[in-house]
C-alpha cells in the first residue's frame, strides 16, 4: 500500500477518534485536549495538501492560542465537570437522528451522485516553497484586502466586547 494512502487512513482515523473523544469525555479539560489533538491532526492534512501556511496557522492560532484560552477559562472557572445524563430525554435521539441522517445523506450524495473525480493537479514548483507564501500574501493584500481589513475590525469588536462583558461591576452605578 502506498505510503500517503496509509498516512491518510491513519490520520483520518485519528481525526474522527479524537472528535468522538471530545464528544464522549465527561471532563471539559479532556474534551478541550481532544480537540487540540484533532486540530494537530488536521494540520498534518494541510501539509499533505501542500498548504504549509494554513497548517502552521492551524497549529499556532487554533491549537495554540484559541485552545489555550479555552483551557485557561475552564480551569479559571473550575468548570471541568460535565455532568452525566445532561441531555433532555427527547434531545439525544433527536441529535443522533439529525447527525446520522445528515451524515448518511452526505456520504450517499458524495459517493453515488457527485462523484468528484478531479485528479490531483501536479504539484508545481510552488508547493511547500516560499513562492506559495508570497502568493498567499499577495492575495491577502490585493483581492482579499477588504475581507482582511474587516477581520481586523472584527477582532477589535471582539476585544471591546470581551472587556465590556467582564469589566468589574464597580463601573456600573448601582
Amino acid at each position: 500500500m502506498d505510503f500517503t494512502l496509509l498516512l491518510f487512513f491513519l490520520l483520518a482515523a485519528t481525526a474522527v477518534a479524537t472528535a468522538l473523544g471530545l464528544l464522549l469525555s465527561r471532563n471539559a479539560v479532556y474534551a478541550a485536549l481532544f480537540l487540540v489533538l484533532n486540530f494537530a491532526t488536521v494540520a498534518v492534512f494541510y501539509l499533505l495538501l501542500g498548504a504549509p501556511f494554513v497548517a502552521m496557522t492551524q497549529v499556532t492560532v487554533y491549537a495554540g492560542a484559541i485552545m489555550v484560552l479555552f483551557l485557561f477559562v475552564i480551569m479559571l472557572l473550575g468548570a471541568e465537570k460535565l455532568p452525566k445524563g445532561e441531555a433532555l430525554p427527547w434531545q439525544r435521539p433527536l441529535a443522533i437522528g439529525a447527525a446520522v441522517i445528515l451524515f448518511a445523506e452526505a456520504v450517499y450524495l458524495l459517493v453515488q451522485r457527485v462523484r468528484l473525480t478531479a485528479a490531483l493537479p501536479d504539484p508545481g514548483t510552488w508547493e511547500n516553497s516560499m513562492e506559495s507564501l508570497r502568493q498567499m500574501a499577495g492575495m491577502l493584500f490585493t483581492d482579499y484586502l477588504l475581507p482582511f481589513e474587516v477581520t481586523s475590525l472584527l477582532l477589535l469588536v471582539a476585544m471591546i466586547g470581551a472587556i465590556v462583558l467582564t469589566k468589574g461591576e464597580r463601573a456600573v452605578r448601582s
Binding site: V114, D143, L145, L146, L153, G161
Partner: protein
C-alpha cells in the same frame, strides 16, 4: 485599491471611523448623553452620505463589494434604524443603571456590519459581514448585566449564532467547491457556462446549508427556538434594534445571494422556501396567541413577519417577478421596521425596574395586562400602540396593509396562490392577539405607570405618524424600493 474603491463605500468607512473615534472620545466624556448625541450625529451623517450615493452603480475592491440601488436603499435604512435604536435606548439605559458609552460604539459597529452586508458581492464578504454585525449584538444582548436574564440571552444568542454561522460557512465552502469561486458574478458565470456537471448537486447542498444558516438569523421556523428567550431577556432597546436590524440584514444577504447567484436553482429552492414561509407564518402567529408577556408576544410576531418576508422568495426564480420580489420584500422590511420600533418604544415606556426584586433581577411592567387602562392614562401613547397593532395585523389605515398588499401581489404573480391564501389566513389569526392588546388598553381598568422621556415619546409618535401618513402615499416609497430591486454587481 484606488480612491474610487474607498469612495464607493464611503458611508460605511465614515461610520467605522466614527465608531472607533467615539470609543476613544467616550473615555473623556463624563456625560453619556454627549456620547449618545455624537453617535446619533455619526449615523445621521452616514445616512446622508448614503442618500447622496443613490443612483450610482459600481463595484469595488476587485468585485468584493457592489454599490447599486439595493445597497444604497439599505444603507439609508440601516443608519436610520440605528438612530431609532439610540433614541429608544437613551433614557432606558439611564433608568436601568446600565449607562455605558460602549453601548453606542457597539451599536455603530453593528450598523456598519449591516451596511457591509448590503454591499456584499462576494460570499466571503457576506460571511464577514454576518459576523461583524452579530458579534456586537451578542454583547449588546448581555449588556444589562448584572441582570441574569440579559446575560443568559447574550449567551444563548451567541451559541445559536455561532452554530448558525457554521452552517453558513459550510454552505459557502461547498459553493466554492462546486463553482471554484466565491464571487456572486463568478458563481453565475460558472452556472451559465454549464460546466458544473455533477457538482451542481454540491452547489444545491451548499445553497441549502446557506439558507439554513440564515434561517436561524432571520428567525424562520424551524430555526426560531432561540428568538423568544433572547428577545425576552435582552434589554428592550437592544431587542428592538435586533428585531429590525439583524432581521433586515439577514434578508438583505438572502435577497442579494438568491436573486443574483441562485436563480438557476429555482426549481430546487422554491419548494423549500415555500414550506419555510408557510411554517413560519403559521407557527409564529399561532404560538403568539398563547403569550401573556408582551416581549414574548412581539418576539413571536417578529417570527411570523419573517415568514411574510420569506414569501417574497418564491418569486425569485422568475425573471419577470424577480424585481417585484426584491421591491416588495424591501418595502415590507421598511414597514416592519417602523411599526416594530414604535411597538417596542411603547413597551419601553411601560417597563420599569422591579422594586421588589434585587438589583440583579428582571424588569417588570411587561405583561400584556400591564397595558390595562393605558387608554385613559396616556391617550396618545395608547392611540399610537393601536396604530402599531393594526399595522402589524395589516389593517387600514396603516402601512402594514400596503406592505402586505404588495407582498401578496408578488406571490400571486409568481403563481403561488395557495401561499398567499395561507398568508391571509394567518394574518386573520394574528388579528386576535394584536387586537387583544388594544382591548386591554381601552376596555380594562388599570393604572399603568409610564415613563415620559422626550426621545422615547419622539420615537413612538414619529413611527405612528409615519405608519399612517405613508399608507396614503406609498407610491414614492415603493418606487424607491423598486429602484433597489435592480441589482447590478
Amino acid at each position: 485599491m484606488t480612491p474610487s474603491d474607498l469612495l464607493s463605500i464611503l458611508p460605511l468607512l465614515v461610520l467605522v471611523v466614527w465608531a472607533c473615534a467615539l470609543l476613544l472620545v467616550d473615555l473623556w466624556l463624563k456625560r453619556k448623553g454627549v456620547t449618545a448625541f455624537l453617535a446619533a450625529l455619526g449615523l445621521a451623517l452616514t445616512a446622508g452620505l448614503a442618500l447622496a450615493q443613490a443612483g450610482e452603480e459600481t463595484t469595488a475592491f476587485g468585485g468584493m463589494v457592489a454599490l447599486d440601488g439595493f445597497a444604497s436603499f439599505l444603507n439609508v435604512l440601516f443608519p436610520l434604524s440605528g438612530l431609532l435604536g439610540i433614541a429608544v435606548a437613551y433614557g432606558y439605559l439611564k433608568r436601568m443603571n446600565i449607562e455605558r458609552g460602549e453601548y453606542y460604539s457597539l451599536l455603530l459597529f453593528s450598523t456598519a456590519g449591516m451596511m457591509l452586508m448590503a454591499h456584499a458581492a462576494d460570499l466571503v464578504v457576506v460571511f464577514l459581514a454576518l459576523e461583524f454585525l452579530s458579534l456586537p449584538l451578542y454583547v449588546l444582548a448581555a449588556f444589562a448585566r448584572p441582570r441574569l436574564d440579559s446575560e443568559e440571552a447574550g449567551l444563548k444568542y451567541f451559541l445559536l449564532g455561532a452554530f448558525a454561522s457554521a452552517f453558513v460557512i459550510y454552505g459557502i465552502a461547498l459553493i466554492y467547491g462546486a463553482t471554484g469561486t466565491t464571487s456572486l458574478s463568478g458563481i453565475v458565470a460558472a452556472i451559465e457556462a454549464g460546466s458544473l456537471g455533477t457538482s451542481g448537486l454540491l452547489l444545491t447542498i451548499g445553497a441549502a446549508l446557506f439558507l439554513v444558516g440564515f434561517g436561524f438569523k432571520v428567525a424562520a421556523v424551524p430555526f426560531h427556538m432561540w428568538t423568544p428567550d433572547v428577545y425576552h431577556g435582552a434589554p428592550t432597546p437592544v431587542t428592538a434594534f435586533m428585531a429590525v436590524g439583524a432581521k433586515a440584514a439577514g434578508f438583505a444577504a438572502l435577497l442579494r445571494v438568491f436573486v443574483t447567484a441562485f436563480p438557476a436553482l429555482d426549481a430546487d429552492l422554491t419548494p423549500v422556501v415555500w414550506v419555510l414561509a408557510a411554517l413560519t407564518m403559521f407557527v409564529g402567529n399561532v404560538v403568539a396567541i398563547a403569550q401573556t408577556n408582551i416581549k414574548r408576544m412581539l418576539a413571536y410576531s417578529s417570527i411570523a413577519h419573517a415568514g411574510y418576508i420569506l414569501m417574497a422568495f418564491v418569486a425569485f426564480g422568475n425573471p419577470a417577478t424577480r424585481a417585484d420580489a426584491v421591491a416588495s420584500a424591501l418595502f415590507y422590511l421598511v414597514t416592519y421596521a417602523l411599526t416594530s420600533y414604535g411597538a417596542w418604544a411603547a413597551v419601553i415606556a411601560l417597563e420599569k425596574q422591579d422594586p421588589s426584586a434585587g438589583s440583579g433581577q428582571a424588569a417588570s411592567g411587561l405583561e400584556i395586562n400591564d397595558f390595562a387602562g393605558l387608554g385613559r392614562r396616556r391617550p396618545a401613547l395608547a392611540a399610537a400602540m393601536t396604530v402599531f397593532m393594526l399595522s402589524l395585523t395589516g389593517m387600514p389605515p396603516t402601512l402594514g396593509l400596503v406592505g402586505k398588499f404588495y407582498l401578496f401581489r408578488t406571490v400571486i404573480e409568481a403563481g403561488q396562490v395557495w401561499l398567499a391564501v395561507i398568508g391571509v389566513l394567518t394574518s386573520l389569526i394574528s388579528a386576535y392577539y394584536y387586537l387583544r392588546v388594544v382591548v386591554v388598553m381601552y376596555m380594562r381598568e388599570g393604572a399603568p405607570e409610564t415613563t415620559r422621556e422626550p426621545w422615547l415619546d419622539f420615537t413612538w409618535a414619529v413611527s405612528a405618524l409615519a405608519t399612517v401618513i405613508l399608507s396614503f402615499l406609498p407610491m414614492a416609497l415603493f418606487a424607491w424600493a423598486s429602484a433597489a430591486g435592480v441589482m447590478g454587481f
